[in-house]
């Protein structure tokens, strides 16, 4: 390496490269006491019609509804009826049981891959309750709660995970990369953040056609570093697009903590400020806060007041996927130390606190959810598990590349069929 003209540079300070490090590594004792967690009810709730700038103080605050006493407090309390609360609770419990069973199925060799959303269940399930069933989602791989809350059959989800005969995607997609038009759930991509500007495009389409449905785009904290995040924010702002843009900040992108995506400098919600759109930072483990924030942003979008960036602050309680072992990069007990708690426990405690729930009912419901998941698993496994797949109907591999099969694919299909007979 050359060091030209050293005389000129003798008195200049040596430049330093800052490589962010998380607060705790394996072997450390996680201690989140330095983390500022504003009390529930402390964040003001502006009218949905305010200029975007009036929301910007909320990008460094934290919208929280469920207090330490498990009561709902403050202006963001959505005042949901107990049935809706119980529905969200049930959805969260179903998601967690589903995740556990599918994780185990992967470990048993029944499929190649699985991803849980443990600790983040409130975000998708409460969002589903807040939006209309007709609104369109462009999710990441950790919003399985949207499908479950919208009533997509668990069996269909599992058939996709097993790539079996019941898999509507015909074994073409990695497990959990669901797609379902009827349930407003766009095909999940493994290329991160691609869906974020696509959500903006869908909502632009809705605006071009004078529709009343809106779109919601999802991205993780890590993938906000992609150019597609910037594209989404730019287009959303330029065309005042009726879209809700959610960043699920679970603080971990495989082994890289959120600082590697820029979180040491600013919150993810604060990115709204530079684009001049509304921004909210929300306790993602508080189902009521999630519901209230999405409802607010949706109302704003529906009345042509423009897009909102919501940061759901949460914690990825388990590994990135079945291919990941977080003990290699963070303390194993960090999830337990995470101060915003478990979203299921928090909503359950709230329902108990308002006299609408008790341990017996909870355990009865959990058993029902467990039975439902087990029954779906049994049903889907009748249609096969991954190791048995990929042998029959090889010709379908060549369908849907194009609307029609062009000659070169027809030739390759014949060859593949012949190989299958060899």
């Amino acid at each position: 390496m050359s060091n030209r003209d050293p005389d000129l540079r003798r008195n200049a300070p040596h430049l330093e490269l800052h490589v962010p490090e998380p607060a705790f590594r394996p072997g450390d004792t996680p201690d989140f006491s330095a983390l500022t967690i504003p009390p529930a009810g402390s964040a003001p709730r502006p009218d949905t019609a305010v200029p975007a700038a009036e929301t910007h103080p909320l990008t460094t605050a934290l919208v929280r509804v469920l207090g330490d006493d498990n009561k709902a407090v403050g202006p963001w309390d959505p005042r949901l009826d107990p049935d809706t609360l119980r529905k969200i609770l049930r959805d969260m419990v179903t998601v967690r049981i589903f995740d556990d069973r599918m994780y185990r199925a992967q470990r048993q060799g029944k499929t190649s891959f699985y991803m849980k959303c443990t600790g983040e269940e409130a975000i998708a399930t409460a969002t589903a309750a807040a939006l209309s069933a007709e609104d369109m989602h462009f999710p990441t791989y950790r919003q399985q709660g949207l499908l479950i809350a919208r009533g997509y059959p668990l069996t269909d989800m599992m058939c996709q995970i097993y790539s079996n005969k019941g898999d509507k995607l015909q074994g073409r997609q990695l497990p959990i990369m669901y797609s379902d038009k009827k349930h407003g759930f766009f095909s999940i991509s493994g290329n991160l953040a691609t869906q974020f500007p696509q959500a903006v495009g869908w909502a632009m389409g809705a605006a071009i056609k004078g529709d009343s449905r809106i779109a919601m785009g999802w991205v993780g904290d890590g993938a906000t570093a992609e150019g597609d995040f910037h594209s989404a924010m730019t287009f959303a702002a330029v065309y005042n697009v009726p879209v809700v843009l959610a960043t699920v900040n679970n603080q971990w992108a495989i082994s890289s903590f959120s600082g590697i995506a820029g979180a040491e400098r600013a919150t993810f919600a604060q990115r709204a400020v530079g684009y001049g759109i509304a921004g909210l930072r929300v306790d993602g483990n508080d189902a009521l806060a999630v519901y209230a924030a999405v409802k607010w942003a949706a109302e704003r979008a529906r009345s042509n007041r423009g897009p909102t960036l919501i940061e759901f602050f949460t914690y990825r309680a388990e590994g990135h996927s079945t291919s990941d072992d977080p003990s290699g990069y963070r303390p194993t007990n960090e999830a337990k130390a995470w101060p915003l708690g478990d979203p299921i426990e928090r909503l359950k405690a709230h329902l108990v606190a308002i006299g609408e729930w008790d341990d017996d009912r909870h355990s009865k419901m959990t058993t029902e959810c467990d039975e439902q998941v087990r029954a779906a698993q049994k049903e889907s496994e009748k249609l096969g598990i991954l190791p048995q797949q990929g042998k029959d109907h090889i010709e379908t591999m060549f369908d849907d590349v194009y609307a029609d099969v062009p000659w070169h694919l027809a030739e390759q299909r014949d060859q593949a069929i012949a190989e299958g007979r060899d």
Binding site: S179, K181, A206, Y402
Partner: protein, 337 residues
């Protein structure tokens, strides 16, 4: 019948389809009020309104991504990437999303969209306004790749592309927007009005995707070309008095191999011509297919005329461009013995 240059023909294709199909929307950098830097979208915003024809931010990734969202919604986006050299920020969206969505959703969602982009050199555009990146797209399952070479084909192919159920990357040879180019850059440009293919019917018609055109029948050899190079090749054989059969591929994917095969089996000699760099260019695929299908009919090795494997150098543009001299040497070689 009106006489159009290629820009006017493409503009007319937009007008025909926007009038016929209310789901067609057009956007890209500078395409709205101004009508595009090459004027292809001129007048569209005035005629069809700002919500169907509008300027996009300088964000090719965002343009393609929002077009994906619109196609998911049910619209038919026809987007312009101002220069093919600018398409790379949108490449992930094109390759991983546009091309794959029909397949990965088992056709629950499809991507009927057209990505228009001017390509090729010969306009002193330097490295970033001259490239021919078609082979980066012919390699991607799920995309169709179309390149017209005349005003008639440009309109008919663009209408076919907009009506196609699959995504089409539509490369426009910008060197011949205003007139066919014989490769002699030091001679005055001929206007399209002298060329029979500048007679463009009014209203709706299509030129089928996946069908090549035999633009000149001949017996001595077969020349496979597309875009600007069709005209360069035609001029080169006229100059040498060769009775060549010249095939304008028009569509690279899906390729019209039957027409190619029939011709090469007849002539026994084949020259492949493109402006893009040689290594891994689409010509490599053509040469492979010709030897697979026509090996025992060949009387000489298949030759290639291409751009060099360098970036497109500004001042050396005419030393880079595969013009008459490169054509001459290749024709001599393929016609020897």
């Amino acid at each position: 019948m009106p006489t159009f240059n290629m820009i006017q023909a493409l503009n007319d294709a937009h007008k025909v389809m926007m009038a016929r199909d209310p789901d067609v929307v057009v956007f890209g950098e500078d395409v709205g009020y101004f009508g595009g830097v090459f004027r292809v979208t001129e007048g569209l915003q005035k005629q069809f309104g700002k919500t169907r024809v509008f300027d996009a931010p300088i964000s090719e990734g965002g343009i393609v991504a929002t077009a994906v969202g619109m196609a998911t919604y049910g619209l038919k986006p026809v987007i312009e990437i101002q220069f093919a050299d600018y398409i790379y920020p949108g490449y992930d969206q094109i390759v991983s999303e546009v091309a794959k969505i029909r397949y990965r959703t088992a056709a629950e969602w499809t991507m009927p969209m057209v990505i228009r982009t001017p390509y090729g050199g010969g306009i002193f555009g330097g490295q970033t306004h001259s490239q021919s990146p078609e082979s980066l797209f012919t390699h991607i399952a799920g995309l169709k790749v179309v390149i017209p070479s005349t005003p008639y084909d440009a309109k008919g192919l663009l209408i076919a592309a907009i009506e196609d159920p699959d995504p089409v990357v539509f490369f426009e040879p910008k060197r011949i927007y205003n007139g066919p180019f014989d490769g002699h850059h030091d001679k005055p440009v001929k206007p399209w009005s002298k060329h029979p293919a500048s007679e463009v019917p009014e209203g709706h018609y299509t030129v089928p995707i996946g069908k090549a055109a035999v633009v000149r029948e001949g017996a001595d050899l077969t020349i496979l070309a597309y875009g600007t190079m069709v005209h360069v090749a035609l001029a080169a054989i006229e100059e040498r008095g060769l009775d060549a059969e010249v095939i304008d591929l028009r569509t690279l994917v899906p390729l019209d191999l039957d027409t190619i095969e029939e011709s090469v089996k007849k002539t026994g000699r084949c020259l492949v011509v493109h402006e893009a760099p040689r290594t891994s260019g689409f010509g490599a695929e053509l040469v492979a297919l010709v030897q697979e299908r026509c090996f025992y009919h060949l009387e000489a090795p298949v030759e290639r005329v291409t751009g060099w494997d360098t970036p497109y150098p500004h001042a050396y543009e005419w030393a880079y461009f595969p013009g008459p001299k490169r054509m001459k040497r290749a024709l001599e070689k393929v016609m020897a013995d």
